[in-house]
């Protein structure tokens, strides 16, 4: 093979970040092209249709569906208040009329003379969309959202929970191998995003919530700790909707794995700056990885020639001499050097016949591992 395709996560001090901010439904855009926005600024808003309350009026009044329209006091499209009479039976000689009261406030959406069902649509649910990162409005997607660009430090995580949040970065450990424990967290970290080392414990996560920490970045997390923290086990990696009041981004994976030195150093360099993070992870059906973005102060002059991060990236190859990360045992998590890329298939210990890479460990020993088990690190 001319090059070996291998997935890799982006860890870069400065790149152009492009963020598409899209409303779930068409709505109003509050900014225009070229506007300078802060992460917390609302850039678009819309209203989601309210929930509906179905009511079988025909059953309540014991009438035939075709009589319904005659007995309805409110028509399709009319507003009703909770408790307001919307229909009434004819009664006996004009007496003993049975009223039907609206169970909730809203608008009569439909009255069916086939099913006898009346559907009341509740008030719309307002949705506001913030900019998420500091930047410039590059494009307005008519009624649908905006595209914001910025110069930023950008780190892709491997797995996370919780949605978008922001706060100032605080390094809470001394070294990449340190665990982030409850004792590392104090009141001064309220509203901040804190950075740990090799793993974060359940106690630390709970303490962080108690203190009001907005987000945690860690090398790893134990599967058991995460299960204890969430109260359930994650079966399929589709996350981001958790409502624990904190966002977690892991950079290496599950277990106690030291954060890559480069990632740690980059976060340390940006200590005190505002970071936008998102734990949303989706490994299938349109892959999404968690991310950490720290925008640079000079967003006025975004260099156009640089490659973008979030729309289309360069094809990552692996060459002899490159540093790669082992992403499966043996030596899971270690950064090693590519020694050779044999073309022919080889047999590894499990007797699996695969394309392999020869790697050199830190102590100089060499090892043959499947190419699928290494991940490139940006040069």
């Amino acid at each position: 093979m001319a090059h070996a395709y291998t997935p890799g996560l982006k860890v870069t001090p400065n790149t152009v970040v492009i963020k598409e901010r899209r409303l779930p439904l068409k709505g109003n855009i509050l900014v225009k092209k070229g506007d300078k926005v802060k992460s917390e600024d609302i850039v678009a808003k819309t209203e989601l249709p309210g929930n509906v309350v179905p009511l079988n009026v025909v059953n309540i009044l014991s009438i035939a569906p075709e009589e319904l329209h005659e007995l309805m006091l409110k028509k399709e499209g009319e507003s009703v208040e909770k408790g307001e009479m919307i229909a009434q039976s004819r009664g006996l000689f004009g007496w003993f009329k049975t009223p039907v009261l609206a169970p909730a406030s809203g608008v009569i959406e439909s009255v069916s003379n086939i099913t006898g069902q009346v559907i009341i649509r509740l008030k719309p649910i307002p949705v506001e969309l913030n900019a998420y990162i500091d930047g410039i409005v590059e494009e307005v997607l008519s009624g649908e959202g905006v595209i914001i660009t910025s110069n930023a430090m950008f780190i892709q995580g491997i797995f996370g929970i919780g949605g978008e949040t922001e706060g100032k970065l605080v390094i809470a450990v001394k070294d990449i191998k340190d665990k982030l424990e409850a004792s590392n967290i104090d009141e001064t970290m309220k509203g901040k995003i804190i950075v740990g080392g090799s793993k974060v414990t359940t106690d630390a996560l709970n303490k962080a919530i108690k203190v009001g920490v907005k987000g945690i970045i860690s090398g790893g997390v134990d599967a058991d700790d995460l299960k204890n923290f969430l109260g359930y086990d994650i079966g399929v990696a589709i996350t981001g909707h958790e409502e624990k009041g904190i966002t977690l981004v892991t950079t290496e994976g599950f277990g106690e794995i030291a954060m890559a030195q480069k990632t740690f150093d980059l976060l340390k360099k940006n200590q005190g700056k505002k970071a936008s993070i998102n734990g949303t992870t989706q490994i299938r059906a349109g892959v999404m990885r968690p991310e950490i973005i720290v925008t640079n102060s000079n967003i006025d002059s975004i260099p156009k020639e640089e490659k973008t991060v979030c729309s289309e990236e360069e094809f990552i190859g692996m060459c002899v001499g490159d540093n790669v990360r082992l992403i499966r045992d043996p030596h899971f998590g270690e950064i090693v050097k590519v020694k050779s890329l044999p073309v022919e298939l080889s047999i590894v210990e499990s007797e699996t016949k695969v394309r392999v890479v020869e790697i050199e460990l830190e102590d100089g020993k060499t090892l043959i591992v499947p190419r699928a088990n290494v991940e490139t690190i940006e040069k």
């Binding site: 093979m1 001319a2 395709y5 997935p7 890799g8 982006k10 899209r22 779930p24 439904l25 249709p49 929930n51 509906v52 309350v53 179905p54 959406e109 439909s110 069916s112 086939i114 099913t115 069902q117 559907i119 649509r121 649908e144 892709q156 797995f159 134990d222 599967a223 058991d224 299960k227 086990d233 994650i234 079966g235 399929v236 990696a237 994976g253 599950f254 277990g255 992870t281 490994i283 299938r284 059906a285 349109g286 892959v287 990236e313 094809f315 990552i316 992403i327 499966r328 045992d329 210990e349 499990s350 007797e351 699996t352 016949k353 695969v354 591992v369 499947p370 699928a372 088990n373 991940e375």
Partner: protein, 614 residues
């Protein structure tokens, strides 16, 4: 579908874009017959940085080029002017990347139209996320909320027989309209809803839904109480899948332009080839395709209820979240740690195992390099297969097939409907497909995984898809059936051997069966096999022998307890495997020590892993 001069087709490339790996095969006409020449594979590239499925296709095809020594692609396009050194005549593909097709179905009565609708969707290759029915016990607002939360790719709405009342199906239409559903991928198009219910309600359904969804109307899938008509709905589902759903996945528009015929959903293609196998050999078959995200189970059984010429009923089920990479953590959760660990002949650290499983989930393309990791993955595979098969057995019941006649009295015979069509003692062949079965380092491992998870009874032939190419052959059979059949028979199906398993239980070490195997050369091998054993008799590929099994009075080989059975058995890469570990139920020893001792003995008899050889 484009027209081809089949006689001029001599070189074919077929790919299957799975959720984890993209597999490519090269087929060439050699003399008078079509044969598999080589295969290539590459990680599926729906993830950043590439986010374009065609990159994975080109990588996999590049491997074909290197291995075959010809040029197939130039400037990212297939070379269509073919010579000896370059180019191809036909490029076809299947796909399950992007999470496959996820549907909701709705019908008036849960066990009638709603069940028929579910069958139509499953047969078209979809994952059925939920089935909504007027009588499903949920209140209307709960159904509305459910539709909103699930965000399917498509909805199939059915209900009511033609000429019957339109009230109930209209109510379902109102529920869908009230939910105002949004598609899962992209917000720029309306959600496709296929209506296949009472034709008298078409006007009402149009009025209710036309503005809110992309409504497509087709024939009623249950025109009368006694008749199912699933094919028009299936065809509509496949068209909508291509036009709306697949077109939203990264790079698919490009891939659709590259293929010479429509891309087929992988499960639809595999189902087609499974039916063909049962047809050619006139046998009852259970097939499985275990992927990274989902596991599909197919079965073809003979039944008095069948309407086709062969008298068979085909069923497919899909276990949406049981798979070996993306869904591996879910298998672990659903099966439970104890069920997974019962297959491992040594102790493992539980917390570490949970981390390993989760790490495979978030880095789904990694491969077990260490033996211990392979054994662990194969233990999980056994549980994924077992759970998927259990699901299949519970769904493969009652009214089945493309079109089916039933009497009204049958309709109300609920007890009969709940009986599974899967009859293990009648089953002739199990076919395994999917990475973990097709690419197991030793074929013996595939055989053992199939036995442990499907628990065949009586005499059952075991086969695997040699290199995982059934999806490609399924789509090829649509375009060029001759080429597909030839490659399938010569290069695809690998015979592992035959499993001989008496039904019944006893104590380990007590007498179970007397087995006598007569080889073609007249040689005879006899053995008395006690309960709780696995015994392998050598019988090579393409060899057939005659077997006589005399069970003790506690055991049944299909002819009644204690009765002798004489049959022909197929050889294969493993041979004839006599499994006396018990059935109905199958249990492993309770004590950890005894269990590990037994596993070691069985694995050694099967020469399963390095260090466990006879």
């Amino acid at each position: 579908m484009a027209k081809f001069d089949k006689n001029k087709i001599t070189r074919i490339v077929a790919t299957d874009c799975g959720s984890t790996t993209t597999k490519a095969i090269l087929i060439e006409k050699q003399g008078d017959e079509y044969r598999l020449v080589t295969r290539g594979e590459a990680p599926t590239t729906v993830e950043a940085p590439v986010e374009d499925v065609t990159a994975g296709v080109l990588n996999a095809v590049t491997e074909l080029e290197e291995l075959r020594g010809i040029k197939i692609i130039e400037n990212g396009k297939f070379i269509k002017e073919k010579t000896d050194e370059k180019g191809i005549d036909l490029y076809i593909s299947t796909s399950s990347a992007g999470g496959g097709l996820q549907m909701m179905v709705a019908g008036v009565v849960k066990s009638m139209t709603a069940e028929s609708a579910a069958r139509a969707a499953l047969g078209a290759g979809a994952i059925v996320m939920d089935t909504i029915a007027n009588n499903d016990g949920r209140r209307p607002h709960e159904k509305i909320q459910r539709i909103r939360n699930l965000r399917p790719d498509m909805i199939l709405l059915s209900g009511g027989v033609d000429g019957g009342t339109i009230k109930h199906v209209t109510e379902l239409g109102e529920i869908i309209a009230a939910a105002d559903p949004r598609p899962r991928l992209g917000s720029s198009y309306k959600l496709p809803v296929i209506y296949a219910g009472n034709k008298d309600a078409i006007g009402e359904i149009e009025e209710i839904l036309k503005e809110k969804v992309s409504l497509d109307i087709t024939d009623n899938l249950r025109p009368t109480m006694e008749r199912e008509n699933l094919m028009p709905s299936r065809l509509k589902i496949q068209v909508q899948f291509l036009e709306h759903v697949m077109a939203q996945a990264p790079g698919y528009k490009k891939l659709m332009k590259m293929t010479d015929v429509d891309i087929m959903p992988t499960p639809g293609a595999v189902g087609k080839i499974m039916e063909t196998i049962a047809d050619i050999h006139n046998i009852e078959v259970v097939g499985v395709d275990i992927g990274g995200a989902t596991t599909d189970v197919f079965s073809v059984f003979k039944s008095d209820e069948a309407e086709n010429e062969k008298g068979t009923i085909f069923n497919r089920t899909v276990s949406a979240n049981l798979g070996m990479s993306y869904s591996i953590s879910n298998v672990f959760t659903e099966a439970g740690l104890d069920n997974v660990l019962r297959w491992i002949p040594f102790k493992m650290d539980e917390a570490e195992l949970r981390n390993k499983v989760k790490n495979k989930m978030i880095r789904p393309t990694t491969i077990p390099s260490l033996l211990e990791e392979l054994m662990f993955e194969q233990a999980i595979a056994r549980e994924a297969l077992r759970l998927s098969f259990e699901q299949h057995k519970s769904l493969a019941v009652g009214l089945k097939g493309v079109q089916k006649q039933r009497t009204v009295s049958d309709m109300f015979c609920q007890e009969e409907e709940n009986l599974t069509l899967v009859n293990m003692i009648n089953l002739d062949m199990i076919i395994g497909s999917g990475g973990v079965l097709s690419h197991a380092p030793r074929r013996n491992q595939s055989a053992m995984m199939l036995i442990d998870s499907f628990l065949p009874e009586g005499i059952t032939t075991l086969t695997v898809d040699s290199i995982f190419m059934m999806p490609q052959l399924g789509v090829l059979s649509e375009v060029h059936p001759e080429a597909a059949t030839q490659v399938f028979e010569k290069d695809c199906l690998i015979y592992l051997g035959t499993c001989v398993a008496p039904v019944g239980n006893s104590k380990y070490g007590k007498p179970c069966v007397e087995v006598s195997l007569k080889y073609k050369d007249g040689k005879e091998e006899k053995a008395s096999i006690p309960f709780g054993e696995i015994k392998v008799f050598p019988l090579g590929i393409c060899e057939i022998a005659s077997i006589t099994v005399i069970p003790t009075k506690e055991f049944d080989m299909g002819a009644g307890k204690g009765n002798e059975v004489v049959s022909k058995v197929h050889g294969g890469t493993v041979g004839v495997i006599v499994d006396t570990r018990g059935r109905r139920p199958f249990n492993l020893p309770e004590s950890s020590e005894e269990r590990i001792k037994s596993l070691k003995k069985w694995y050694t008899e099967m020469s399963l892993y390095p260090g466990f050889e006879r």
